[in-house]
């Protein structure tokens, strides 16, 4: 059964159509990659699903419920969390606080005016930081971490929301090869353990073909192919778009 579905989704930026008639069904528990060249509309597609942008037309359905145009904080509450391609954290707060705030919000404690903030969710914050490998950096200022570490924090914040569907927009962009391996291994393990549905975009083809159950290819805002990794790899249209590039996921 589809846990998340888009129906004829369109986004028109004043004449420029960034998302064009995208209909996609995400099956519960699958890992689904969205690939496509720069500017294909991958991030826009994520923004439409999570309420960051309002579609020009079309629908977003989550667990049978129409969530088109719903504001982000409500979408998150339904169990749909995301990370951002461009680092989106609280740069002047500590790493610890970055995660702690997400956990306070998850537990609906952010309107507790008279309950000291410091002790809230201490243990789960520590656990989560340990999980993503940021425990030694807990007290550092988030904006001063290396780019790769900030990406890891980005992931930790998304996981803190305890989602059912995880949307990761280029989770490894800017990471070192070693950090990439660790991050992907982590995503792989957590999605399995928690039975999460994963929708992600990624430029690194070895990552894409390494963990995806299905792949959809966006080009100029349209889905030109969608299916099992092998089918997508051999699709002539996809080959044409990725002219000359290796789609074999090897040699990395």
């Amino acid at each position: 059964m589809a846990i998340l579905e888009t129906q004829n989704l369109m986004k028109d930026f004043g004449g420029f159509v960034a998302t064009n008639n995208v209909s996609l069904q995400l099956i519960e528990g699958e890992r689904h990659a969205i690939i496509g060249p720069n500017g294909a509309g991958k991030t826009t597609f994520f923004n439409l699903i999570t309420g960051h942008l309002t579609p020009s037309s079309g629908k977003v359905i989550f667990e049978g419920k129409d969530i088109t145009g719903m504001v982000p904080h409500k979408v998150v509450r339904l169990g749909l969390a995301r990370s951002f391609q461009r680092i989106n954290i609280y740069p002047r707060m500590t790493v610890f606080e970055n995660v702690q705030v997400a956990l306070i919000a998850r537990d609906h404690n952010h309107f507790k005016l008279f309950s000291l903030g410091e002790p809230h969710n201490r243990q789960d914050t520590k656990d989560l930081l340990e999980l993503v490998g940021l425990d030694t950096e807990a007290l550092e200022i988030a904006g001063e971490l290396s780019y790769g570490k900030q990406k890891q924090l980005e992931l930790a914040i998304a996981l803190a929301e305890n989602p059912r569907v995880l949307l990761l927009d280029e989770p490894t962009a800017g990471m070192s090869p070693q950090e990439t391996d660790e991050a992907i291994e982590l995503v792989d393990r957590i999605t399995k353990e928690r039975g999460l549905t994963l929708l992600f975009t990624e430029h690194d083809m070895s990552v894409v073909f390494g963990i995806s159950d299905r792949i959809s290819v966006l080009h100029h805002g349209e889905i030109i192919a969608s299916g099992l990794p092998d089918d997508v790899r051999n699709d002539p249209e996809v080959r044409r778009v990725y002219l000359g590039e290796s789609l074999d996921g090897e040699g990395h």
């Binding site: 904080h73 989106n88 954290i89 952010h110 903030g117 410091e118 929301e161």
Partner: protein, 307 residues
Amino acid sequence: MLACLIVLIALVALPMSGDLHAMDVTVEIMILALFALSLNTLIGYSGNVSFGHAAYFAIGGYTNAILLTTYHVPLLIAMPVAILFAMVASMFVAWFCTRLTDIYFAMLTLAFSMLVWAILFKWREMTNGDDGFVGIAMPAFLDDRVPLYYFTLAVVTASIGLLWLICHSAFGKVLVAVRENRTRAGFVGVDTRRMRWTAFVIAGTFGGIAGSLYALFKSGMYVENAFWTQSAQALIMTLLGGMYSFFGPAIGAATLHLLEILTNRYTEYWPTVLGGILLVILLFLPDGMVGLAQKIQSRFSRNGGAN
């Protein structure tokens, strides 16, 4: 913590010196400090600059004054009602202002405060217009300097204690996150508009407390108390002390008020001096006096470590 205790003990002990002038100055500083701290919930903690905070000060003050004097309501009812009025007014204004952000937010707070000013100015029968509402019927137990001093001290201490708790609560922590990155906070499930609304109402309510104390202290209220210059003064106090530290604005309030008294003793050019102070803050003290102190302290401890 220790510093707070020392200040509190000094404040409790002050009336024993019998220096009435010093007591008057201190009462005014305590009220201004509470006013600046209330504003900082909005500015420092939520990151929304208000140019119209005097509105809630004035509503609290005028309501208290009018209830006590015109309607002979006892203080124990008049003051809570005055605070409630300030709170309800800020709830209403916040509902509009939090639809906007940044400069548009700031301008709308200014517009509402000018509206409050205009009402106080025009509603002569009730407020006595620009002649000021003078000669408050003071409750018997406050009809002397010393009791009034201790009453102010008690209310201000309790209010600051509550504000401290709010700013350091789970709410306060998430509020800072909203200030730092509103988009991200929204994506972890925080209704950022409601957070900003709540911060606004807290600021307005405690601003109302400061105003209602001010009416008792001055035994009157004046339309100038609702004017934008009063809002600007609180803003300058906050910036001078440092908006990223809880007690910064209180330090700013004390410093600015003492400077004003000192300047007025020698010249008539307080506004000019004030302009100079503002210039210095903006150019050299971006994080206020507290920020400067922290910088000096960290430099010293770094040197200490190196030697």
